[in-house]
Symmetry: C2
Subunit: 621 residues, 2 copies
């Protein structure tokens, strides 16, 4: 246990829970990292789609970013009200479930779960990808580095949130400081230069335009840019984790996260247009990220550049942490409703939902391994889940307002309805545009996950029905059980087991599976060792059953005899006494045959409810 | 079980054992493959050491080979008499153990076990190495191919010996035919050419001599050439596997193996001298094996060449099979004497010692992985074990003759003494010459293995002492046990467990670990559900114990309560009833909490001999 204590900390009591809850400054890195880090790939994703437009492309980033910011603000107000309406947390699942019904709720939950897995996988792979492009000698170790990062994140999260928040606070704030500094210096330079700044290091010249501006390309660019919104739902899922006053703290945290994101999106768009930055093809040599080009244009290749790039790398890897904070919570809420195995609802020794963390880590590890830790291959699977959950959550809020009514009913319905419409449209656009590239995997996974959820729920309902009773104890016709004792030879264990059998019943059968000619020896001693003492004490004689085994197995014949006896004595309870040699040393497993364990397992698997096992341990001194 | 049946065959009864036993023609591939395949590397190992002598080297192969053949014949007669003296098998271990004592016996056993692991590893790596040099595109897959070969060999051996013999018969006889054909054609050509044949494809010219002939270099070459002897002990270990008349069949098999090996060693030496073949450096480019050069000189690069090279590859990989036939047998004999875990002595479903096969496969797999499947790195570890076992076995036979006496006593003692002396010298030479290259690993492993053996034996002696008794059953002061039932809620399982408790005792304690405020609900129902029916039946009332758990665990408090109760009731037996929901579906493991299993395990680990567990299964319909 010492190693476990060292890695994930001492167990925490439920009464220590309050101390684990977090404030705004810790909440921003924990629940905002995913949303904030989106600034590092959202604008770039939109600009990459505008490459065919040439230099004209960079002029369209401003209206696109304004639309995205408006959408972001709509989503913010929606989630702000969700937090107030649902202070217990649960986010999209709870909202969709309570307002639209079970199926939309589970659909939102499945979408979110898949999205969190991808948040973890993409965050880690993008971060390691950036690290690897900074240090090309590590290229061949990409997957290994991804898995190491995954293990470190998992351990950090199994230790509990406060410490996790502490670990992630530094890179998040460093990232925000760097971005704000870049935007501040950049905007000042642009204004001082009258709108035509001269870059310190100029971005590459824009390629020749090969397409004209059209509605379809702008819609696609808008849809891709919307990946900047992934992660904003995190706060609403985790409201419960915040310090009192819970709702206010959570809303303030969400507000700060959204405001910071808006400043970054607007600032980046403004600078892209002013410095005439056009995205470079990520699949071609000479690729440079938009943020890197902006940093070079504003400040050149100095210490600030490297610190900023470093903070981007860290934030991308740690953005995966949002998934570790929220995936287990979503699983917990769904498990509480019986749609996932109950073990997801059990808190571990550090007041975190350990099983959810471990399942997320395993699935993320599998995804990273399959896709070789390469972000580009994972991206098409991403965003579908997030926007599906947004849509369902906001549609749920529309139903909520409709039902609740009150002042501003129609205004609220309009805001959420608009959000639902725009995010719903985005889901369709992303699905169509990226279907063949991998979105189909998400489209297949969501119904698969839904099937599992319904199956689990049906199974639990069935078990509850089978186990449930309200009738009192029945003590009619009590009768001591029939006891069966396997006895390979006369030993202290055998003697002790037989004595124990006499303490609970008077009907005892001793089974001796004969190995060749040793049976005679045992039976010769039977009268002296057992029958005489029993007769002297006026106890009924145990019956000796000899079984000849043509195979070298002894377990099988014993199991068969127990089941046969149960069938021959209908309504009778059969207790099989299994003596077991126990040694409290790690090497004991290798030295002793595992016959007792095997016998117990086989009786459990092949037996029926009348056959029980009495396990008698015998300890070596 | 269908997959197991398919892979390793249906279970065989002990009565089917005779049918599994083998004759001469099947015995040669099974027990001779290792010895026969030595012809492919023994002469080459000697010639490689003679490279510094230049062309003069090839003239010394004849006297060296004659010495090795004489040694081989001495060893043959020794083992021929060992087979007759020990028809039960056991080989070097049995002979050394019975005649020299326990320690020399175990030393021989440890040496043999390590040697078998290396036989398996070297056989596989040499075979795959040859395959890979024939198809260089597979070079990067060397280790993977080695492990695939290992898995196939393991499965073949788990199926049982007769089939294993069938699989290996073809390559062994093909190899013998090719070698005999090469020697026959070669010798005929030499004789027809009056001792100066003209090679079809001439071997490379001999390098200039850079050393003079000396006693040390010849001794080293002799020692290396002695690797041709590895594997000749196999038959004596496996005498029991042969068809009746067991001893005669085994002796005939050994005789044929040795005769074939002598013909090959003599023929190869004769042709090497006649064609003036000098070994090439295996670490330098342009390396060609001695057998390959001989085949090219005798017959050119035709179909016969490729068939012969192919048979060499197959025989090398399959020579590992000798280890699979003998390693488990040695483990079995030693386990029977209590020096290895008893599970090595249990026959599996196909009348083979499955555990020995699996352990060999695992250790071989580890060795191959550590050394990357490269023969050259494994070779220095090899041969020490084999020759140490030879030495001890032959020394044991000296003691045997001395004790037994009879006609020819001194002649027999001289033959075995000579063998012991020469093989003992070889052990020392190999150790000194290859110590730094890896022989030290073997030198460390043998004492480590010996320590394990003595530890295991001491442990079993200790256990036997603890368990042994010859006193009869004691039925004085019988008293029904105190029964404890953990009960999280009222259910069919709880009701059934409580009824079972009343059938074996009248003193029952029900433990309810309260999760927050649910305790009150349960306790409110207690009187109606349990106390009233018990009172009506005039049974003593079960005692309700409520435990408040500040942690989210329920198992820990139950275990603590059981142990506390046992301590408060000295001399009293405590039975804990553990109800367990059983579902015979693979996915059940994921859906149900493993609390019952955890409780059982913790009670076993933390409890004492007075605390036993009554496991009550509840089956879902």
């Amino acid at each position: 246990m010492t190693l476990t204590d060292f890695l994930i900390g001492r167990p925490l009591a439920t009464s220590e829970e309050r101390a684990e809850q977090i404030g705004t400054s810790a909440g921003i890195p924990i629940f905002g990292l995913d949303a904030l880090s989106s600034a590092a790939y959202g604008p770039e994703a939109a600009l990459t789609l505008l490459i065919p437009l040439g230099l004209v492309g960079s002029t369209y980033i401003l209206p696109l970013s304004i639309s995205i910011i408006i959408l972001l603000i709509i989503v913010f107000f929606s989630y702000r009200q969700t937090i107030a309406a649902y202070p217990g947390g649960g986010g999209s699942y709870t909202v969709a479930h309570e307002n639209l019904g079970t199926f939309p709720g589970l659909l939102a939950a499945a979408a979110l779960m898949i999205d969190y897995v991808l948040t973890a996988a993409v965050g880690i792979s993008a971060g390691i990808g950036a690290l690897v492009s900074a240090a090309p000698s590590l290229q061949s170790k990409t997957l290994l580095l991804c898995l190491i990062a995954l293990v470190l994140l998992t351990i950090a999260n199994l230790r509990g949130q406060r410490e996790a928040g502490g670990i992630f606070m530094f890179p998040t704030y460093l990232f925000l400081i760097c971005m704000f500094a870049m935007i501040g210096i950049g905007v000042a330079k642009v204004l001082l230069a009258g709108g035509h700044p001269s870059p310190v290091i100029a971005p590459p010249a824009a390629p020749k335009a090969i397409e004209f501006v059209g509605a379809w390309i702008l819609l696609k660019a808008f849809a891709s840019g919307c990946t900047a919104l992934t992660g904003v739902e995190a706060v609403s899922n985790g409201v419960k984790a915040f310090r009192e006053p819970t709702v206010k703290t959570a809303q303030r945290t969400l507000g700060i996260i959204i405001a910071a994101l808006v400043v970054m999106l607007a600032g980046i768009a403004y600078l892209v247009k002013a410095y005439q930055v056009v995205a470079t093809d990520p699949n071609a040599p000479g690729y440079d990220s938009v943020l890197s080009m902006l940093l070079l244009a504003v400040s050149g290749r100095g210490a600030f550049y490297y610190v900023s790039i470093g903070s981007i790398l860290l934030v991308l890897v740690f953005s995966a942490n949002t998934a570790f904070a929220d995936f287990p919570r979503v699983c917990h809420v769904i498990a509480d409703d019986g749609f996932l195995p109950l073990s997801f609802a059990n808190r571990g020794r550090r007041l975190v939902y350990s099983e959810g963390i471990i399942v997320l880590a395993v699935i993320t590890g599998i995804l990273l391994t399959i896709f070789g830790g390469v972000t580009d291959r994972l991206i098409p699977l991403y965003a579908v889940g997030a926007f599906l959950a947004f849509t369902l959550s906001q549609a749920g809020m529309v139903a909520h307002w409709k039902r609740e009514g009150g002042a501003g009913k129609f205004g609220n319905m309009f805001v959420n309805g608009l959000g639902a419409f725009v995010t719903g449209t985005t889901v369709l656009v992303v699905l169509v545009a990226k279907f063949m590239d991998g979105a189909w995997i998400t489209a297949v996974m969501i119904p698969a996950l839904l099937s599992i959820m319904y199956f689990v729920r049906r199974h639990y309902d069935y078990v509850r029905e089978q186990v449930k009773t309200s009738t009192p104890l029945d003590v009619s016709n009590l009768r001591p059980p029939l006891v069966i004792i396997p006895m390979p030879q006369w030993s202290r264990m055998a003697k002790y087991s037989l004595r124990m059998a006499f303490e609970i019943t008077h009907e005892i059968r001793v089974v001796h599976v004969a190995e060749e000619d040793r049976a005679a020896e045992f039976c010769g001693l039977w009268s002296h060792l057992v029958l005489e003492p029993a007769a002297k004490a006026k106890l009924p004689a145990p019956e000796l059953i000899q079984i000849n085994s043509p195979y070298r197995f002894v377990i099988g014949p014993i199991v068969d005899y127990v089941i046969k006896t149960a069938n021959e004595n209908p309504g009778r309870r059969i207790v099989t006494i299994v003596p077991e040699l126990v040694e409290r040393k790690w090497y004991a497993y290798f030295l002793h045959t595992q016959r007792a364990a095997l016998l117990k397992t086989l009786l459990l698997m092949k037996g029926n409810h009348r056959i029980s096992v009495l396990n008698m341990p015998w300890y070596l001194k």
